[in-house]
Symmetry: D3
Subunit: 249 residues, 6 copies
């Protein structure tokens, strides 16, 4: 069930059978010479929508702009500062909690979001903690590549040149979902360099075409489809376990 294609009454009925919701969250940022700017929010959206076809889960709208300050040297990147990102995640969460959601799983598509999302969770929990009251809800961050079995499959598909930005696995997923948007390229070097992440101009100087450690040339729609299917199955299981998790008194 996609929240944005539902009515408020339908969401009210869903809440009578489950208190859990998935929020796809990512980033809109450069992904090398061939990767789509939307890759990091499209991947979790694609996986969540696929999962929703097979199970009675509720998927929120996609949180599509994240923390990508280091990519601002490349046209098309849109970033929130961590402080803005934390405030926005807080408002999303407080909205959902106001309706009675108790288990909110953020399915993340961007490694650069992890620190800010976790900081946001702490910021939200702290309201209850300072007041010495129970929060009454639980937040979980789950990167799609950490879903059960997905990392293993990606390693099999791409034993070398997976890297950490503009990876063949994320490129493959968007190729599967948007075959008309596949872009051809020669990569020089075939596997991009690695190193630290700092400010945007430093990043562009170190990684001239935007890739970090990856060879996206290995991506294919087929491999992307395999990843999506497996990730969707794992997401359903993970969400189910999370929704059934009890909380100590």
């Amino acid at each position: 069930m996609l929240l944005h294609l539902s009515t408020w009454a339908e969401v009210g009925q869903f809440l009578e059978r489950s208190r859990a919701i998935v929020v796809p969250i990512g980033s809109n940022e450069q992904h090398g010479p061939t990767g789509l700017l939307g890759t990091d929010w499209l991947c979790p959206q694609i996986i969540a929508y696929e999962a929703e076809k097979t199970a009675d889960i509720l998927v929120a709208p996609t949180f599509n702009i994240g923390m990508a300050q280091h990519h601002l040297g490349f046209p098309g990147t849109i970033s929130l500062r961590p402080s803005t990102f934390i405030a926005a995640i807080g408002d999303w969460t407080r909205s959902l909690v106001a309706h009675g959601f108790e288990k909110i799983l953020f399915l993340n598509g961007h490694g650069g979001n992890v620190a800010s999302i976790e900081a946001a969770f702490s910021e939200i929990y702290a309201e209850a903690s300072f007041a010495k009251r129970r929060a009454g809800f639980a937040l979980k961050l789950c990167n799609w590549w950490d879903l059960d079995g997905v990392g293993e499959l990606a390693n099999q598909q791409f034993p070398t040149g997976h890297g950490i930005h503009a990876t063949p696995s994320e490129i493959a997923i968007t190729q599967w979902a948007f075959p008309d948007a596949i872009k051809p390229a020669d990569y020089t070097p075939q596997i991009a360099p690695s190193g630290p992440i700092r400010d945007a101009l430093d990043f562009r100087a170190r990684y001239p075409d935007g890739r970090m450690g990856s060879d996206p040339g290995q991506a294919s729609p087929e491999k992307g489809g395999e990843l999506v299917k497996l990730a969707a199955q794992s997401l359903v299981l993970q969400l189910d376990a999370f929704s059934r998790e009890s909380v100590p008194n």
Copy 2:
């Protein structure tokens, strides 16, 4: 050209021929007994994507969560506080300006966003104004129902019962785009009441099914399609005029 399905290099090339971009912006909030929760961000997205098919314009990802605090009494609504919304619009804008965009048109789908978006514009301009330097870019807010001819068409289609929330025109647009998500309903009363907008529980008490002044039962996919076609044409013209507008020295 959809930014999220483009590469950074493609956006860089676009910037050589135009400095203008459209950002669909809306809200995810209850829309009465039959309206989709995503109505207010889907409408500008649908119109912008339609426009993009016929003209060389660039469409940013959709800013899908806006200022909807008064709808929080209905499940599925997600709202930013105005302060968060202003901060986020600021970061989107600063990101786009960093790449060289000089004309940013926010195509808005939610009346409740207008005040916060305009406040955000002032907040951003104020950085230049306090520093006594030129901003170097221009921001424009355009509600889709204010695009040339669109209000007139809606008045023809729905001479009574258009109202101001969960209107037949916005419902019609989503029906055209998502025919599988059309929901049947009896409306009681046929035309919903009107009145002030305050906090969420006050809103729910005044407008029990979520509509304000509207009769969405008049909506049809065909009327929606007419609205989308006209709005898309007007958007292209509006954006073209905006992009060619010169700035005084």
Copy 3:
């Protein structure tokens, strides 16, 4: 009853007979070659003080600095950023609500304030909305030129050249109240140009003497007095209706 010339005990007694209060709110900003910098906060103050002479209403101190970033290119303008303005309106409101005021009418004198004031209202209501509790108070924004009959009178007085900034109607009101501060001028052109409002230097380049679309040369103290008398009467009626308005359960 002017709050600032009353004691706390007198305000306590007032609260036993009414829960409503008027807050004049405006801006301190350039008003063309002859307009007073205080015009936008003086006008609502003048009207509210006039109303207070004839009815048992309570008038708060004047909120005299508003959102005027676009006028910062002209000496004497003082502006808050929207974020500061929103925070300050919030603190004023929370103070008054703490005393038991339930109906707070902001009588506004500056069009540029509208978006930020409305955003402030949403920010304040959102505290209750996120917490799923009733706010227990209502906020109303009323521009003095929108008071019943006032716009019509201004149209009669100034059928052409009213414009939107440094208008003859607001100049007339200050002429009536401060006849010693009337400034003579030749206006070139007689009616100022119109156009968009952006950052401060853009504004000054477009509107070199500060006026927008107006011919303040038509103002006179007599016309100002007529406007004040009518606006004061309408304010009393408007406030009375607001104070008697019931709230749904």
Copy 4:
């Protein structure tokens, strides 16, 4: 010269002969059984306006709401939180500095404002200090009771029972300026108690009628007039010295 009764061009001309400005700043808060709620912003305004009659100085609009959280237990008090107050003082200052003012003297009427005003000054200076550039302007806080000779006169007038809140000196000043608003009272006890200042309900429990250590019954319009005349003279001298003060390179 009162800024709010001047035009932007007049302020521009003033800036050619002086870079100094006075900002009356105070608070709107309970002042015991007879004191006016506006006492703390009226006193500096009265003194500054008196000074302006005799010297070519420029007086800004009055900053009338300050830090009065501890008085919120009494009806009519309006307070900013320190964080809001600091932000607002920052925006006032940045506005004035943008026009070329280099010496800004805040003439303060409320002891409870002192810490927040000084913190605001540091917040503003810090922008330059972190950036290792000269600020280029100087800010001065001057309580009216600390103006040369004023404390001595008040001590002569009120050798006992002056206290620190709702003092006979400030009551006398408002009696001189607003003789129609003089309120009669019996004070029990004649001299109010003293002690610490904490939250609002603690304050009201300690100081039931709002006074701290004072006997306002000794106030008279005549004594108020003497204080105003002397304070106005001292203000002109103080401002003149400040405006001529040179800054090291």
Copy 5:
């Protein structure tokens, strides 16, 4: 009892016999040609640790970075902006209050902190004041040089050249505690100049070696030891009185 060398259970037991705690608070900033950068946080820490040896008091970790923007022209100074400082003091306080502490004494070592600490107290109290509830705790700011008898002793020790920054009394205290870190110097002039405090570069231009009005050459470890002993005794008495202070209902 030093909190940082205790377990949570030991703190829990302490709370059964006392609800009071001391927080040493200072600044890390230049202290002239011979003073240690840590002087202002070391002094209250030294005094509090000395007091803790003789009485059953609880000493929190030292808040070692304060408001020192004006010293940023000298290497090694670390400063918070007032807004950050206020937020941090708020979080420290809310943490301690959550555990049941009701009397929190900040033993301060830096004059430049006073305004921001008092503003922080008001910010914290305001939460209760706006909500019309009792705060339930009391905050006290105590500069170590204002402890009973300490100012008198310093005056005896240093009848001239005490000054206000890099004073011989604070230098003496650090000499007593850190004899290995005593630095020799010629002072030119022997007594440093005095004047206003503004931004960092202005400060450095006025006070080239960092001192204000002081002659630290008079400091000695012995004098420092005398100050510490007396201050520690006075602190114990002051804390005891504060902890036994009752609060009105």
Copy 6:
């Protein structure tokens, strides 16, 4: 060289030979039945001070309060919210950068700090990235247990029951440094449970004595000394490599 025991001139001289500095950073929070509340800021301080004895490095004052909202259910814990923590790290960094430091290594002692510290780094870098200028400095986060060889040594020392909070390795380090503060205990169970980290009351319900997965009973001062010596050596090497790292143009 310890910054707080140095003069500004000594720091100025250090900057002529190195642009690198170490900031010990941790948290003050419960550490199980026997661990010191200061454990997480004492450990990096102990290691950095040990390193400083053997190499010409500069150690800043310890940032002793971090993000520990989940431990607020246990007396003595003091926590910053992530937003406050991020602001404070920003001010520390901007202060150090203003003096010319270009490589700032935060030696961290608390896993719960990691997300907020990384978010803080992004917040700081973003200022440069949005402005399209080079930051000119680099920030590095280094947990002491991740220093070369340290994790391996801890695994040898504590092959089972190391856990993730109140670990025997951190307890051992404080035992070595503060042998007088070693606390005896029986642990029940010997190895504490593991699980998720959420709000404070949830944490206390899951982990009743505060430990997570650890058996601190295996700690000894000797093992702590071994860890400190190795960590200090690795820190010197790590800092040296960081300080010599060149930055791309």
